[in-house]
Every structure is written in C-alpha cells, then in structure tokens.
Symmetry: C2
Subunit: 223 residues, 2 copies
C-alpha cells in the first residue's frame, strides 16, 4: 500500500482481486459511474493486518472506500451509503416499495452474512487443509439453496425483477468461490442464469477478479 491523503476528490478503493466483498464495491462504483483509484491489499501476505491498514479499517479487511472525506468499511454499509448519496442509477427498488427492498436485502444478507464470512480466507485457514473445499461447498450450497428458492418468485432478468440490485452484486461475487469449490450450478439454474446475464454488463465484467491489476498473470492463465 502506498501513502494517500484521506481527503481527496477521486474515491480510493482498497481492494484485493479475489475478495468478493471488494468485488461488490468495484461493481457498484462501476454501475453508478463513479471513477475510483484502486489500492491493492494483498490478503495472502496479511497486508490487511498491517498497522497502516488497521488505521483505515480496525476490522483488518477489505474493502475500504475513501470517499467524501470519509473512510468507509464493511461492504454492505458502503453499498447503502452509495445508494443514499448517489441514488442514480438505483441499486435498490424505490422507497415507495419497502416490501421489494426487503426481498433484495434478504437475498443480499443470505450471501453477505450466512455465506461469505463463513467461508472466507480467515475461517478456511483455521480448518484442516483437506477440509476447506468441502466446508466451502457446504456453506455455499446452504446459501444458494435458499437464494434459489427465493428467486423462483422474485427473479426476472436479475435476482429481483429486471433491475440490477444489491442482491445481484452479492450473488455475483459469491459465484467466484462457488466455481472454485466446484459447486454444482445445475442445482441452481436461476442463479446461474442471473450470473450469466450480469456478466453481459461492462460494470460486472470490469469488476471480475480476473480483470484486476493485482491478479497474478499465472492465475489468469489457469482460469
């Protein structure tokens, strides 16, 4: 990480290519047309727990977004902040439809709370090496089963109707690990279809782990 001033006109995003939570914010900034400067934090070499990074985020995680003179942490809190301060294009249904907003947030929270944190790098490292992939698959399957059931009623082109929302942003990042754990996506045809359609959008393609500058060339070749 290089030095930076907190108060800067162009938002700075502390990010790691493989981090799905970073991917959520990369996608959201792209969708809202907010240019940003990426700063790379290597989770494998524990840069997230450096003294310097802990000053930005005492939780020792990415993403951190420096915007409007603020240091914002926790990806779902950042999404809500962006939606409140840059409402267009909207990534939540209109305020006049709180029921639909609740469906979006419910799908998002299944991924953001019940799936992602239970299979992230910090947790996997506490497990025996040969138990990591089955654990990851178990966690993702539980979450995706629930999301797929909700999508049977809610989905259109995307998770909730035809609007790209927080729910899609969360599903999108989680898919990277689902594929890594070899989750059988034939079990989740609606989810798989949504992911395919998201990847047709520049905002999501550009935010993919494989398209980040901190993604090592060798991992790009093997994907």
């Amino acid at each position: 990480m290089t030095e930076q001033k907190v108060d800067t006109p162009k938002p700075i995003l502390y990010t790691y290519f493989r981090s799905s939570c970073s991917g959520r914010i990369r996608a959201a900034l792209n969708l809202k047309g907010i240019p940003y400067e990426p700063r790379y934090v290597n989770l494998l070499t524990e840069e997230q727990n450096s003294e310097e990074h802990l000053k930005l985020n005492p939780n020792g995680k990415v993403p951190v977004l420096i915007i409007d003179g603020l240091q914002l942490t926790q990806s779902m809190a950042i999404l809500e902040y962006l939606e409140e301060t840059r409402p267009e294009p909207a990534l939540l249904p209109s305020r006049s439809d709180p029921a639909r907003r609740a469906v979006v947030r419910s799908i998002s929270d299944i991924i953001a709370a019940d799936v992602q944190p239970v299979q992230n790098l910090g947790v996997l490292r506490r497990l025996p090496a040969d138990g990591r992939k089955p654990w990851g698959r178990w966690v993702v399957d539980n979450g995706f089963r629930a999301v797929e059931a909700i999508l049977q009623k809610s989905a259109g082109r995307y998770c909730v109707g035809d609007q790209v929302t927080f729910a899609d942003i969360c599903v999108y990042g989680q898919m990277w690990n689902a594929l890594r754990y070899e989750v059988d996506m034939k079990e989740y045809p609606i989810l798989a279809g949504v992911y395919e359609r998201l990847l047709e959008l520049d905002a999501f393609r550009d935010a993919l782990w494989i398209n980040q500058e901190d993604c090592p060339a060798e991992q790009r070749q093997h994907s």
Copy 2:
C-alpha cells in the same frame, strides 16, 4: 409451531430464545412499540428445517417476521424494513447524515456478518466438541476488537452517540454468546458499558433470552 394465517393484523415473530438474530427483532419491535405474537421455533430439535418452517424461510433460520401481509426473513433486512415503514422512534441517524448512518451500519455489519454467522449453532456443530468454545471466543474477540476501536470515536451513551441504533441492537444480542464463551469483557470497556446501559431500557430487558417463554426454567436458574 402452530398454524397461522399469513395475513394477520398483529405481527407474528418466529423466534428462538437463544438466537441473537431473533433478539435483534424482539428488541426492535419493543423499541418501536410494535406488539407482536411470538411463535417458538426450537433450533435444538431442528424445527427450523421442518417442511413447515422452510415454507416461511427457505434459509431454515429464525427470525421470520409476518407483518403487513409479508413474510420477512434475515434480521438486518427486517430492521431496514421496520425503519422504512415505522420510522419512529428512529433506529438509524437521520437521512441528512449518511456518514453517521454508515458508521452505524458498519458496526452492525461487523457483528451481523463477521461475527454472528461464523459462530452460530450450525457452524459450531460442524466443529469438534472441544473446539467450539475456543472458536466462538476467537470469532467474537476479532469482531469486538474492531467494534471497540470504532466506538472510541463514535460512542456516547450508546454505540453511536446517544441514540439507540441498529449497532446497539446487534451488539446487544452478540453479548449473550460473548458471555457464554467467557470473552474477557475487560478488553472491551466501551462495549461493556454500552451493553450495561442498554439493559437499563425495558425494550432490551424484555427481549433478553432469559425472559422468553421458550427459555427452559433450568437455564434461567443457571444463568
């Protein structure tokens, strides 16, 4: 669980006494003065995975809130819904202060994403019996360390200034397991103080696990 109609004037809360996510919604309903009818779901006997409950929540979890003819799931999505539809008393800072709302949501998400789901019953059951308490303590310590650092700047009487917010609601429920895992709360004096002050409020006292009808008498005596 007993039979119920989805469309009912008095909200119904599917809850389990020890579930901190249920506790969040019990507290929020109390704080907002919304009377509700509790329906008890015993997580130890896997009622949450019964066919009947999966119809209410395909994610097989509590809480589920039946309100306004809707079936709402995921506690953070429910909190946002309640705030959008019953704004008084407010459990988030005013919309004119998105930065402060972001601090509240950031603290909330540390608990709701990085702590609670990583040490819940479903996860602990996958671990060797003698590894459960150390795992729980490790997870809570990581989260509480981050929250305590944020509270050094944000706290007043409660987590963010003198207003009770989502952040307090999340901290409140997590304290139950922190105490169970014998987390050393002397390490987190601001958090400990906030919890003490929350318990001075009827809304939080009434929502405590020990004050629920489904709490077995024997557990009450031993607490």
